[in-house]
C-alpha cells in the first residue's frame, strides 16, 4: 500500500543542515497496524509527516497505491489526503465553535457526501465509541479523553484508506490512553490500515508491527 524508498529529509537553518531521515525504505501493506517507536528527536514524527504528505522529503520516493506522490503540488496533496487519509494528532485541536458532531462532518462535506448521510455515518461511529450523548457538546464541554476520541472519529468518519496517528495518547492519562488504544485496535480488526507514532512502548507494542527509529534510520523492524 505504502512504499517508501530511500527517503531523506534534511532541515536547513542558515548554513547548518540537520539530517533527520537518512535514507529510510519501508513497505506498509494494506490493513497493517504499524507503530513507529524511537527516542525523542529520532525522526519518527518526521517520517509520519512524509508518509502522510504533510511534508515533502528532500529526496527519495513515496508511492501510495501505486501512485508516486513525489511531484504532488500542495493542492494535489490536500486533495489526496482528503480522499485517502485520516489523522489523529497529539492535541485533538477541535474547532471550539463546532459541536463534537460538526467537527467530524467537515471532511465528509468536502468529499461531497450528503449532509444527512454524513451525519448518520458520524452518529453511528459516535455510538460505537459510546459517545452518542456528547455529539452536541462543544469541545469545551468534553474531557481530554473525549476530545481525543472525537478527533479520532473525525479521522475515520470518511473511511480513509490509512489512519495516521501522531502520539495520540501523549496528552491522555493511562486509563484514557488504553481506551483510545482499544478503539484503534478495534478499527484495525475491522481492516483499517493504521500508522501510529508513539514514544510509549506499552502502546506501540499493541500494534501488529513495530519499527524502531534511531538517528534517522530504522534500527529494528518487528512483527508482533
Amino acid at each position: 500500500m505504502i512504499k517508501i524508498k530511500a527517503v531523506i529529509k534534511n532541515f536547513s537553518s542558515g548554513n547548518i543542515v540537520t539530517k533527520v531521515l537518512k535514507g529510510i525504505s519501508l513497505d506498509v501493506p494494506e490493513g497493517q497496524f504499524l507503530s513507529i517507536m524511537g527516542p525523542s528527536g529520532a525522526g519518527k514524527s518526521t517520517l509520519l509527516y512524509q508518509m502522510s504528505l504533510l511534508d515533502k522529503p528532500t529526496s527519495g520516493s513515496i508511492t501510495i497505491d501505486e501512485i508516486d506522490t513525489s511531484h504532488f503540488t500542495e493542492a494535489q496533496a490536500t486533495r489526496f489526503r482528503l480522499k485517502n487519509f485520516g489523522f489523529v494528532f497529539q492535541d485533538s485541536a477541535l474547532i471550539p465553535e463546532f459541536t463534537a458532531l460538526e467537527n467530524t462532518l467537515l471532511p465528509s462535506l468536502m468529499l461531497g457526501h450528503n449532509y444527512t448521510k454524513a451525519k448518520n455515518d458520524a452518529i453511528k461511529i459516535f455510538t460505537s465509541f459510546g459517545m452518542l450523548n456528547q455529539i452536541d457538546h462543544l469541545p469545551s464541554q468534553l474531557s481530554g479523553g473525549e476530545q481525543q476520541r472525537v478527533s479520532m472519529i473525525r479521522g475515520i468518519v470518511k473511511k480513509p484508506k490509512i489512519l495516521f496517528a501522531d502520539e495520540p495518547t501523549a496528552s491522555l492519562d493511562t486509563a484514557r490512553s488504553r481506551d483510545l488504544m482499544s478503539a484503534l485496535l478495534e478499527l484495525h480488526r475491522q481492516g483499517q490500515t493504521i500508522i501510529m507514532v508513539s514514544h510509549e512502548e506499552e502502546f506501540a507494542k499493541m500494534a501488529q508491527r513495530m519499527i524502531h527509529i534511531r538517528d534517522g534510520q530504522i534500527e529494528k523492524d518487528t512483527i508482533l
Binding site: S52, L54, T78, R81, K83, P96, L111, G112, L138
Partner: protein
C-alpha cells in the same frame, strides 16, 4: 469542467458550513465590534458625503430659485442689453405653463446716513447691483418675495427698495468682515442711490432679503418702471430674463429655440446649472472632493480595522486551520469561509446603516437642515450615490477579509499544526 464545477460547489458548501457555524457560535463581542465598525464605515461613507453634496446641491437650488429659474438669458459680453426681446417674449408667451421675469440691472453706489455726516467725513457707501423687477412677474419665477427677513417685499410706492442682506449689518452671517456694508439699516430708513449717469435718488427701505444666494443678497431691488426712468433707458431694454418652464418642456429644446430666433446668438442663453456663478461651481467641486476624501478615509480606517480583526482571528486559529488542511479541507475553502463571514457582517451592517439613514437621519436633516450662510444642508442621497458606495464597501470588506485569511492559511500546513 464538470469536475471543476463540482469541486467549486463542494468548496462553497463546506465554506458556507464553516462560516455559518462560526457566526452562529462565534464570540458575541467580536461579532458586535465587526458589525459596528462596518456600520460606522457605511454611515461615514454615505452621511458625510451626502451632507456635503446636499449643501452643494442646495447652493444650486438657491441660485435657481432666487435668480436664474430653469433657463436664464443674459446679453453677450459685447452688448449691454438682451437682443430682440420682442421675439423672445412672443416665443415664451406661446408656450403654455412658462413664466418669465425680465429684469433691468445696473451697477450703482448706495449711501446711508448721508444726512448725518458733515465736513470731510464720508457716509457709509457700498457698490452693488440694482435690479429693477416687476414684483408680480418675479414672484411667479423666483421665491425672493418669500425670503424677506425684515419688513416687506417691494410695494407700489415708487421709492420702495429692498436691500440684500449682505449689504447691511445684523441680518446675515455670510460676511467675511472685509466686505463693506451700509451698517445697521432699519426698515423705513432712507438710502441714496448714485447711478452711473450721476443721477441721485433717495429710496425708502421697505425690506431686507436673505435668499442664501450671494448674488441676490448683494443686490438691491426696486420697481422696474422707476429704474427705467432713472436710467433713461428704452422700454425693451432688459439685462436678464429668468424663465420657469413646465415639466413638459425640455430646457435644452427651449434654449435651442431661444438661440435660433433672429439675433438670438447675441444673447447668452443658459440652463440653471450653467448659470451658476463659477465660484459656486468651484465650491460644489471642492465640497464633492472633501466628501470623497472623508469617505475614502473612513473606508480606509474601516477596512484596516476589519483586516486586523480577521488577521487576529485567523492567526489565533492557525493550528485548527492547519489540522483542517491536514484532513483535506482546502485552503480556498477556509479562505472563502472568512469571506462569507464578512459578507454576512457586511449585510447586517448595511441593513442597520440603511435603517439609521432612511428612518432617522434623512427625515431628521429634512426637518432640521444644517443652516449655512449659502445653503441649507440636507442629506442628499441618490440611488447611484448609495449603490456605488455600497458596492465599494462590499468589495473593500471582502478584500480586507480575504488578504489576512490568505496570508495565514496559505502557510505550510505542517508549520501551522506544529505552531512553527
Amino acid at each position: 469542467m464538470t469536475t471543476q464545477l463540482n469541486d467549486l460547489r463542494l468548496i462553497i458548501r463546506t465554506a458556507f458550513f464553516i462560516a455559518y457555524k462560526s457566526i452562529y457560535r462565534g464570540s458575541l463581542i467580536v461579532k458586535l465590534v465587526t458589525i459596528f465598525i462596518l456600520l460606522l464605515t457605511f454611515l461615514n461613507l454615505i452621511v458625510v458625503g451626502g451632507l456635503l453634496v446636499g449643501i452643494t446641491e442646495d447652493v444650486g437650488v438657491k441660485v435657481k430659485n432666487s435668480l436664474t429659474g430653469d433657463v436664464f438669458i443674459e446679453p453677450s459680453k459685447e452688448y449691454n442689453y438682451i437682443q430682440n426681446t420682442g421675439d423672445i417674449f412672443s416665443l415664451l408667451r406661446g408656450v403654455p405653463g412658462i413664466h418669465f421675469s425680465p429684469r433691468l440691472t445696473s451697477g450703482v453706489s448706495i449711501e446711508y446716513e448721508y444726512k448725518n455726516v458733515g465736513g470731510t467725513k464720508n457716509p457709509p457707501r457700498v457698490s452693488a447691483v440694482i435690479a429693477g423687477i416687476d414684483p408680480l412677474l418675479e414672484s411667479q419665477v423666483t421665491n425672493i418675495n418669500q425670503r424677506i427677513i425684515a419688513g416687506s417685499f417691494l410695494n407700489e410706492n415708487w421709492d420702495s427698495i429692498v436691500l440684500g442682506s449682505s449689504l447691511v449689518d445684523g441680518y446675515t452671517t455670510s460676511k467675511t468682515g472685509s466686505e463693506s456694508t451700509l451698517g445697521h439699516v432699519s426698515i423705513g430708513d432712507k438710502v441714496r442711490i448714485r447711478f452711473a449717469n450721476n443721477n441721485l435718488f433717495e429710496f425708502t427701505v421697505t425690506g431686507i432679503i436673505n435668499s442664501k444666494s450671494s448674488t441676490v443678497d448683494q443686490r438691491v431691488f426696486v420697481n422696474q418702471k422707476m429704474l427705467r426712468q432713472l436710467l433713461s433707458t428704452a422700454g425693451d431694454n432688459y439685462s436678464e430674463i429668468a424663465i420657469i418652464i413646465p415639466n413638459t418642456v425640455a430646457p435644452t429644446s427651449l434654449i435651442e429655440e431661444l438661440q435660433n430666433i433672429p439675433r438670438g446668438d447675441r444673447n447668452d442663453v443658459k440652463s440653471s446649472a450653467e448659470a451658476i456663478p463659477s465660484a459656486v461651481g468651484d465650491l460644489k467641486k471642492a465640497f464633492g472632493l472633501i466628501g470623497n476624501l472623508v469617505g475614502a478615509t473612513a473606508l480606509l480606517v474601516g477596512i484596516i480595522t476589519v483586516f486586523v480583526i480577521i488577521f487576529v482571528n485567523v492567526s489565533s486559529r492557525r493550528r485548527y486551520l492547519g489540522i483542517l488542511k491536514a484532513q483535506g479541507i482546502s485552503a480556498p475553502t477556509l479562505i472563502l469561509s472568512y469571506v462569507f463571514q464578512i459578507i454576512f457582517y457586511m449585510v447586517i451592517g448595511l441593513i442597520l446603516g440603511a435603517f439609521t439613514i432612511f428612518i432617522f437621519l434623512r427625515p431628521y436633516f429634512a426637518e432640521n437642515p444644517i443652516s449655512l450662510p449659502m445653503a441649507d444642508g440636507e442629506l442628499f442621497l441618490t440611488q447611484s450615490y448609495v449603490s456605488i458606495r455600497v458596492v465599494v464597501l462590499f468589495v473593500a470588506a471582502i478584500i480586507s477579509a480575504f488578504i489576512p485569511a490568505w496570508l495565514i492559511i496559505r502557510q505550510n500546513t505542517l508549520d501551522a499544526i506544529l505552531g512553527r
